[in-house]
């Protein structure tokens, strides 16, 4: 068995087959590599690519700083809005009071005109 094993080890590896691959298939594979490279370039420039890059582990400090600034801006904007809405509420109460007055005056005038 050992001699047969030795024969197999030494002869099977050197066995040749009369077969080769076509250039056209190799060119097609090359084309696909190029196509994938173009696709990844396009992806990099797209919003999704931005998100993918953003979630990667590169430049973590810069990304954290960016997120912090964004967070501060959002909070600031929110506080501004709260202030504006308070002002609006005050104004609207004033308007409502005015309109009640107007309606009362109108009703009085209507009664006067009906009964007099």
């Amino acid at each position: 068995m050992d001699t047969f094993d030795n024969f197999l080890n030494s002869n099977i590896q050197s066995d040749q087959i009369d077969l080769d691959l076509d250039n056209s298939s190799f060119n097609q594979l090359h084309y696909m590599v190029n196509l994938n490279a173009t696709k990844s370039e396009v992806k990099k420039n797209s919003f999704f690519g931005f998100l993918t890059d953003f979630t990667s582990t590169k430049f973590v400090a810069a990304k954290l700083a960016f997120v912090a600034v964004l967070f501060i801006m959002i909070i600031g904007n929110k506080e501004n809005r709260v202030h504006e809405s308070l002002v609006f509420l005050c104004d609207s109460t004033h308007i409502q009071n005015n309109s009640y007055d107007t309606i009362a005056t109108y009703n009085n005038q209507l009664c006067d005109s009906l009964f007099n």
């Binding site: 594979l29 090359h30 696909m32 590599v33």
Partner: protein, 197 residues
């Protein structure tokens, strides 16, 4: 470009795969030249010595490498991984062609017939071995090729075929034994050439 090609020659298969996923053509050329002949031979011997089918399968496996490099399992060596993919492709093809119906039961040594081995391109003994190997099932054939053609260790073959080490050892032993017996019985003229005294 030539500088890239020079650099890529020093890269490992795994590093080349990363470069390919970034669209590096030279890395692809390098990986292709490292594996195309090995894979072509493997597919040719596994897939009933069908030249066109072997070519198609080599093309298909490289398309997988280009389009789905993320499928590479980093816990395996690239060479082990690519042959496990190749083996799975062969398994699927066997299933597709339902070749098991046509394989002769290896338990019956009489199923090996005398055939004409006069072929100018091959040594008669090697030709005989591969003709007889055709009659084994896919896993015996695959273990044999990975061991004697590709020179993988038993552990590596076990990883490629996803079978226990003991099973691989017994399949190799069984294949060798049956080949030897059948050569002795049917081709006594080759006993000396194959050191089967």
């Amino acid at each position: 470009m030539n500088l890239n090609l020079f650099r890529n020659k020093d890269l490992t298969d795994e590093e080349l795969l990363i470069s390919i996923s970034n669209g590096n053509n030279d890395a692809f050329n390098n990986l292709y030249s490292r594996y195309k002949d090995r894979l072509l031979y493997y597919f040719y011997r596994m897939l009933f010595q069908d030249k066109e089918l072997a070519k198609d399968f080599v093309q298909e496996i490289f398309i997988k490498i280009i389009n789905k490099p993320h499928l590479y399992n980093p816990s395996m060596k690239f060479s082990t991984w690519i042959f496990s993919v190749a083996n799975n492709m062969c398994k699927n093809e066997y299933r597709r062609q339902d070749i098991r119906k046509n394989t002769i039961n290896c338990e019956n040594p009489d199923s090996f017939n005398n055939e004409d081995f006069s072929d100018n391109n091959h040594e008669p003994a090697i030709k005989l071995i591969f003709t007889q190997l055709e009659r084994f099932d896919e896993s015996h054939k695959s273990a044999f090729l990975l061991k004697y053609r590709e020179g993988f260790s038993i552990e590596e073959i076990s990883n490629i075929l996803d079978l226990p080490v003991g099973t691989i050892k017994s399949r190799l032993f069984y294949t060798r034994k049956k080949l030897q017996e059948n050569i002795k019985n049917n081709h006594p003229e080759l006993i000396e050439q194959l050191n089967l005294q």
